[in-house]
């Protein structure tokens, strides 16, 4: 399948992902970049564009890079997919030949620091995830935002906690056979889900992902160069983004992840339909996000996400295997690099478990409840194609 965009992914690096690795964020980025360079058969000097997912003082010196440009990009969980698009633009305008999109976070570790240092002032509220005025009312962290959407979904469609639970069980089934996943060797049942404690009603513990540490890097180049570098490039067939604060004005904020505009552009560009998608990797840090996106992308009708998952469509051997590495719930949480990295592996035919045989197309999504006082569901859709 050839890309309309003439853009492909020539290499990927994925470090160990897990809880309390005790490795700094910057070092995780360095490891991911080195893995990606080796994967793409490239040297440091070949990287002439650098996109850092997040915001931090630049780390080019530590990474040993001197590119034509280096950008910091942050639009929440939509950032990794957005970085592929920004890289594609740089390649198309001949500003760079090989762009590295790099992520590394150590959410669950206290970063190792030089001694002596002071612990004063390190304890703080997670205000960064409180989105303005809602924080006045005790709304803290992304789970509460998704809980408001889950409650609305339940009210509109009769969705139940069990419907959410089946998403957790299905994604854990994928993770339980994926070495390195958080849920490896630990399948769960619906009863386990129902017995898990309430976090932000109606979301229980097993409806929520846990932050993990890890790095990821992807190298974007032209389709032709990618084909010269590797025998398994992944084509970028289409992409789209949407940053819809309008959902706050029109009242749809808690009923929609703002998929439609991003999806329409991505599918038009890729010249495929939803029925042509072989495997899906959805940005879903909470179970409700999987249901909402299955409906909004059109894999099933609005309100039917629960029965769609219950029928096994998204599980191993289903009609649209979804989050085949365990996703963010049971695999690892590397923001949008969780779905993106698994999509790349699937398109290469190299998924360590649950490879979807003959898969030619993969939908990858990214979503961020950021930007704007009430959060605004930034969304990004990406359609990847196998070059086989």
């Amino acid at each position: 399948m050839n890309s309309q965009l003439d853009v492909a992914i020539a290499g990927m690096g994925l470090t160990k992902q897990g809880r309390r690795l005790g490795i700094s964020r910057r070092e995780l980025r360095r490891q991911a970049l080195d893995l990606a360079l080796t994967d793409a058969n490239l040297q440091r000097s070949d990287i002439d564009g650098y996109i850092f997912i997040g915001a931090t003082p630049e780390d080019l010196r530590y990474l040993g890079l001197s590119p034509a440009f280096a950008y910091s990009l942050m639009t929440g969980g939509a950032s990794p997919v957005a970085s592929i698009l920004v890289a594609a633009g740089a390649v198309a305008t001949d500003q760079a030949r090989h762009v590295a999109c790099v992520y590394g976070e150590a959410y669950s570790s206290i970063p190792p620091k030089l001694n002596p240092h002071s612990n004063a002032g390190t304890e703080r509220d997670i205000k960064a995830y409180s989105y303005g005025y809602p924080y006045l009312y005790g709304m803290v962290g992304p789970a509460a935002t998704y809980a408001l959407a889950a409650r609305r979904h339940m009210s509109l469609y009769g969705t139940t906690s069990e419907d959410l639970g089946r998403v957790a069980v299905t994604e854990r089934e994928f993770a339980s056979v994926r070495p390195g996943a958080q849920g490896y060797g630990q399948p769960i049942t619906l009863d386990d889900h129902q017995d898990s404690r309430m976090i932000v009603d109606p979301l229980r513990l097993l409806d929520c992902s846990r932050p993990t540490d890890g790095g990821a890097a992807v190298i974007v180049t032209s389709s032709k160069r990618a084909a010269d570098l590797t025998d398994r490039p992944v084509e970028v067939l289409g992409a789209g983004t949407s940053h819809g604060i309008e959902s706050w004005w029109n009242g749809s904020m808690f009923e929609s992840m703002n998929v439609s505009r991003a999806a329409q552009r991505a599918f038009e560009q890729a010249q495929v339909g939803i029925e042509d998608i072989d495997v899906a990797q959805l940005y879903a840090p909470f179970t409700i996000a999987t249901l909402m996106q299955l409906e909004e992308y059109g894999f099933c009708k609005p309100g039917e996400g629960g029965s769609f998952v219950a029928a096994g469509h998204t599980g191993p051997g289903g009609t649209i295997p979804t989050n085949t590495g365990g996703g963010q719930l049971s695999g690892f949480y590397a923001t949008g690099f969780t779905p993106l990295s698994e999509g790349i592996l699937q398109m290469r035919g190299e998924a360590p478990s649950n490879q979807v045989v003959g898969a030619q197309t993969c939908l990858v999504s990214g979503s961020g409840g950021n930007g704007g006082i009430q959060g605004s569901w930034a969304h990004a859709a990406l359609i990847l194609g196998a070059a086989r």
Partner: protein, 145 residues
């Protein structure tokens, strides 16, 4: 019990554009931001998507609305909130805008989307009053608004 050290409006927004709203709360009056060209209402202050900030004005809202969605926060993510269980709600004001708030006098059980609610003002610090909501009984809901 008034929780200690909870955030105040000025802690979470970087400028004073909403100051009239918070000042009015001290007088137990709920304001909304209205575009006088198209009569659309907004909270918090911001541009009308049709008309920008050409002719915006703070006007008094009815104080009534309906429960749009809610969650009960069990996990103590924040040290700033000491209540046992907080009901965080989104209310759809009668004038149209959505507003994050607390639903007081409710344990979060037996709630339904669409239940009528009314504003109550809660003093959270000496000079700081925030609007919260409580369920309205049936006789009140039949009153014109």
């Amino acid at each position: 019990m008034i929780p200690v050290d909870r955030p105040l409006p000025g802690d979470v927004v970087e400028d004073a554009i909403d100051q009239p709203f918070w000042d009015a709360c001290r007088d137990h009056v709920l304001l909304i931001y209205r575009c006088r060209i198209c009569a659309e209402s907004f909270w918090p202050a911001g541009c009308c998507p049709q008309h920008g900030m050409q002719d915006m004005i703070w006007v008094t809202a009815s104080g009534g609305g309906t429960l749009h969605t809610w969650t009960v926060v069990h996990q103590k993510y924040s040290k700033s909130f000491t209540e046992e269980r907080t009901v965080v709600a989104v209310v759809k004001l009668d004038e149209g805008p959505l507003m994050h708030t607390n639903l007081i006098g409710s344990n979060g059980i037996d709630l339904q989307v669409g239940l009528p609610v009314g504003v109550v003002f809660q003093t959270i610090a000496s000079e700081s009053v925030i609007p919260v909501f409580q369920l309205r009984n049936q006789s009140e809901t039949s009153a014109p608004r």
